[in-house]
Amino acid sequence: MSDMRALHKSFVEAAARFPTNIAVVEPGEGSISYQSLDELSSRVCEYLHGLGVGPGERVGLYLRKSIDTVAAIYGTLKSGAAYVPVDSTAPPARNAYIMHNCGVKVLITEARFEDKLKQEIDNLGGPIPHLLILDGTGGGHPLTNALTAKGLSSVTTSIPVLSPRHDDLAYILYTSGSTGKPKGVMLTHENAVSFVDWCSEVFQPHFTDRFSSHAPFHFDLSILDIHVSLKHGATLVLVGEDIGKDPVRLAKLVSDERISIWYSAPSILSLLAQFGNLAVYDYSALRHVLFAGEVFPVKHLRTLTQLLPIPRYFNLYGPTETNVCNFHEVPLPVPDDRTTPYPIGKVCSHLAGKVIDESGVEITTGQEGELCISGRGVMEGYWSLPEQTAHGFLTDADGTRWYKTGDIVVEAEDRIFIYRGRRDRMVKRRGYRVELGEIEAGLYKHPLIKEVAVVAAPDEEAGVKINAFLSGKEAKRLSLIEIKRFCSENLPLYMIPDRFTWYDALPKTSTDKIDYQRLKEAN
């Protein structure tokens, strides 16, 4: 394709145009200019090229969110390889699985994770990838030091931006998988660039904008944060994991850093509205509030928009497989008597959408069905899972591939879609995708647990509550404290169930399967 652009091309161009602009701010640790970020990422690229990394390879990033990580992302992209970011707070075994699963050639990580990670990769049968070990993260300094120690103290040549091939991957994002193993969503440069360009068109970013980076980098919201801001010469303000969950400190940070474009899951916005004491701060810089990842309870959205009436509010919707595919601007004010969540809106201009019934036939206005998406933003597939990939798509007679979102929608007037719920066992919690099957698989690892069934129930306050039903191999049951501690060691925090209920034996259907229907009713 002639207009194929590499994802990092716009950043390199912005660096040439705005060399002294601040590219990234890491509160408490410092900031980095476009020129310095361009140079540091080129050094990462040289290091990777020295190890033979290029197009068709993958580089793992097991790092706390930092300037170091942003430089590692652009260094990887410049090398032609795809970056694979993981959650640095998740159990090392899960991250080792991901690195091993997609066969990263190089893994950039922190010294504190090294031993455990090597051990876990070893347990999986190795091999250990090349490791670039950073003595922590912060301000880009540990990365600089690690590269200097490898003899890369300056960039000797300028690195040409190559045009990617049609199927060259830009990144792989791992999401919860129903089999208990995370699955890698493969996104190409074309997928990413088409999305980033759509964002430019709708949100009209300017080099004076200051973007929040609230979502972690293994989460697809980060694609907008990083690659849209740095395309336009704007500033990206990194929000750390701890502050990101703490509405009291976060409210002050958003004001102090004069954030102009905010993007996050609704859950933290709900907390900001309730606990952030927003009335005491100055948010005059804020012009867009974007949210995605789950339904925003109207009650909290109303409070937020009453406290901050000036910005425009956008509900963005889309699975990692397509990134944002629908969007809806929330008209203000939110009426006092409204309780129905806002629509997910129209399909983005770089994509196409249709609704199908259970047999795959397109259905007309007014009836519920599954939303399917096609176009340049839609993923290549799941990493080394050809069957799940095939299962995820519907192919038309003319060869168009439609990704089946698994989300049930109904089309209202004017091609505006309303979200109804899921077709399968996936739920969204604090913006994260959670396959209930992955929680079950995690709980089954406990030697004393015999049966597990996990069900989700809607909850007005939290959006969704996750309930685990269990039976044990012995009469003595695990205490709540024991089971929660076991979960915290084996599952990401956002997957830990809210409630645990013990049975002598779980209820069964006539075919002797666990009776989920009865458990749901017991909820």
Partner: protein, 83 residues
């Protein structure tokens, strides 16, 4: 006085976040945040409870694992604030 603080906090945690748990299982050293008992919202609720009940104010950076991970840590923090 410290025992009174401890019992108050312990009862609150048991009632709110560990319904049905045997109180004997919640010891002074049971990890609360790192042990998956208090998530970020639960931690916020606990902080609000402590502030209201004991008339203290916690700085934003104190609402974390370093300061609130065990009953011992929490009692120490409250005692310092009250004195």
């Amino acid at each position: 006085m410290e025992d009174g603080i401890k019992e108050t906090i312990k009862k609150y945690i048991l009632d709110e976040f560990l319904p049905g748990e045997d109180p004997n299982n919640l010891t002074d050293d049971t990890p609360l945040i790192s042990g998956g008992i208090l998530d970020s919202i639960a931690t916020l609720k606990l902080v609000m409870f402590m502030e209201e009940r004991f008339g203290i104010t916690l700085a934003a950076h104190e609402a974390d694992k370093e300061h609130l991970d065990t009953l011992t840590d929490i009692v120490r923090l409250v005692s310092e604030k009250k004195s």
